[in-house]
Amino acid sequence: MTAWDDLLGTALVGTGRRPFTLAGSGIAGAGRVTADSPEAAVLAAAALAAGYRRAGWTPPAWRGTLREPAEPDERPECTPVAAQILELLLGRGIRLEAGTDLLTTDWLTAARACGRRPPYRLLPELLRFGTTATGARRLVRQVIGPRGAWLAGHHPAWSWAATVPRGEVAGRFATGTRAERLALLTDLRETEPDRARELVEDTWPAEPAATRAAFLDVLRTGLSDADEPLLERALDDRAGTVRAAAAALLDHLPGSARAHRMAGRARRLHTAAGTFELPGEPDEAARRDGIGDHREPGRGRAASRLIQILAATPLSTWDIGEIGRADSDVVLGWTKAAVRQGDQEWLAALVRHQPTPDLIAALTPGTATDLLSGARKLDARFGALLAAAPGPWPAGFSTEIVGRLRDAKAQAVLRVAARALAEHLHPAALAAVEDWLLALGTGSAPEARTLRGIAHALTIRATILQEFR
């Protein structure tokens, strides 16, 4: 036992229970100090020994293996102004009613296009951002570069952004946790979709149902006709969740055998007059293809089945000119089909017939804004459509819509679509927004607050674009 341990032992139980003298302490220098009580002796010994202990402290040796450092990132760092904006956005230092996520995405998109990297110190915040904003992960991965991917490899919550060496993918997929395997698959699906599917197929029969269903959901990224055989096989799966996941994916593949079978069912219901008969109870083959008892809100069972069949039938089966004469069940089925198949021509035709937010949201920004710029009435319905329109909006449309909202005093539309306006307006519309604000005067009307929020977002977006020019 060292002199220090002995001293500490006494101090812990107290001099009331254990005696202590400086002379017997064995502590260097104790002979030159006096103490007139055991308590004073402990304190004096502590004063002496603690000094030696602190000054003589030596660090423990670490015997682990250091990981390889990060690969160099050849991209130039973004400007200090751009870095500051990103820092404020990620740290919620900029307050926007709609939140800062979309502006962050704008920043990342601009940086990617410009080939510049964020400062290294912001990488942890960017990874935290991508961990919660799952929709932005792909963009985050592209922007953080090799240093970010390397950093992500040290933190389990960031594994979605970590680079897995090619040779290790199969091994990690075999041994990882479910979350790690899903992250690995999503990752691989972006670059090598076929290889990812092959990994799924390899272990498919041995996986639990929940994992099989989750794997199918991952295939949505990079889905192609090459995935059809696996999906077709999954239609016979013993688990309902897996069958449903497979049917949902096949809805996106109008060239598949299932789509062909659906087309056959749909054609049999199509009358010479151009109308549709309601289908009867589904037979076993129809049930296998996913026609079930799901009820559309406000529709009967048979009508719901018709909608399901039409939603899974290739739109090339029909003549686009029939939209005008079709009844509402048929239009709803076609609407679902157009959204799933992403058919721009049908989407646009259906919008002209009867616009819905779902249809608008599935269009490209250019087509959506073209269709909206012709609208006659700026009512709440229009507000909902505007709110659904994808961005970024072209400069011309942006300026035009701000002017029209102002002229029409369309406060309701402004309120409903405020978030979309802040997110999608082109910076060119900033002057129009500021003019409107100026005309409102100093009042604190709710619309002034909304407009200030929009102007703020546009200013930041304009700065981002300028810093990455």
Binding site: A47, A50, Y120, R147, H155
Partner: protein
Amino acid sequence: MGSRWTVARVLALAPDAGSAKAARALANPRTWSDLGSTSTLVWGKCQGSARSPYQVTVDLTEPSFRCTCPSRKVPCKHGLALLLMWAAGDGSVTAGAGPAEWATPAATRKEPARPDPEAQARRLAERESLMSAGLDDFELWLHDLVRQGLATARKQPAGFWDTAAARLVDAQLPGLADRVRAVAADLHARADWAPHLLGELGRWYLAIRAWRRRAELDEAASGDLRAVLGWPRRRDEIGDRVADRWWVVGLSQEEDDRLLSQRTWLHGEHTGETVVLLDFAAAGQALKVAHVLGSVVDGEVARYPGAGPRRALLTGDEHKVVAGSGLPHATGVPDALAQAARWLAGNPWLRRIPLALAGMTVVPGEPPLLVDPGGAALTLAPGTDVWQLLALSGGHPVPVFGEWIDERLHPLSVQAGDRLVAL
């Protein structure tokens, strides 16, 4: 009453909590004019709701307050706010040659305030006897603690430590009070609480014994003792001046419910000396603009008496500031710790030890470490943003500057390329 008061001591004079709060809000130099002080008097004009500003004077000897505001509270919020700014010691209340006519107390108006050596000596003796009594009391408390044992002390409620700290504050020993509070917080946070507590008890006891023999201490040791007890120096007591090119290598800030404090670590290019600048502001107030990390200030500092690393003040107005290129004095862990040992030999109470470390690799884990090429591992303090450190280093060995406190490294800056980045 030569030394500045602590913020806690000022607030203790408040007649009620509302006055204390109002005073904090008012303690902002922007609403004040004609601020000044001598060793016994503090004065200033505060723009209130009335047309002409209130004239506020505090005589520190009593203390007594005079204010032209209509409040019947004694002291009023203006007097308290004035003392808060003066106690912060941030330079907003300057030491003036003499008070203006309006600020002079009626009794002394005819005779201009002149330092009265007799009164000064009496006040000094009063303060010293108050401190001596407080330290005697503290020694008895330490004896009780050691008699009952540290294991028993650890089971004491927080109030046990708070009471001891409050008594130290009353005895004008705020430095020791801070250390008692810090140890109380460590007791349940550290696995090695027992040796840590015993070491602290030893250092406190050393301060008591050193105080009793203060007449025999040299200037440096006496300065360090004053610092650990919390008896600050006035600006006019500061010692020698050194001119150098001072590299700003680390900034750290700390806030408790009363005080915001900031340390700026400087490294002298020619002298090789490390000094620290301290700035304070009452909580909620803004600090002076910090020196830019990574810059180089060409100028003179005045050093407080003490062993190294010494506290200092930047003096003079002519400072040239240029951009630096990283950490000029980084060494391996063994050399840095050898320097730390030399400092500790000079000042056993030294708590924050600056370390400038070269070639450190970040190893994330529980706890995260910094490892040098020889494998020497330093534990990073809890609360360190290890991910930012890892992102900035990219796994490469990098120079790191930090404060070494109780065997934990609090990193303050890291060199990335030829730039210093704050953590």
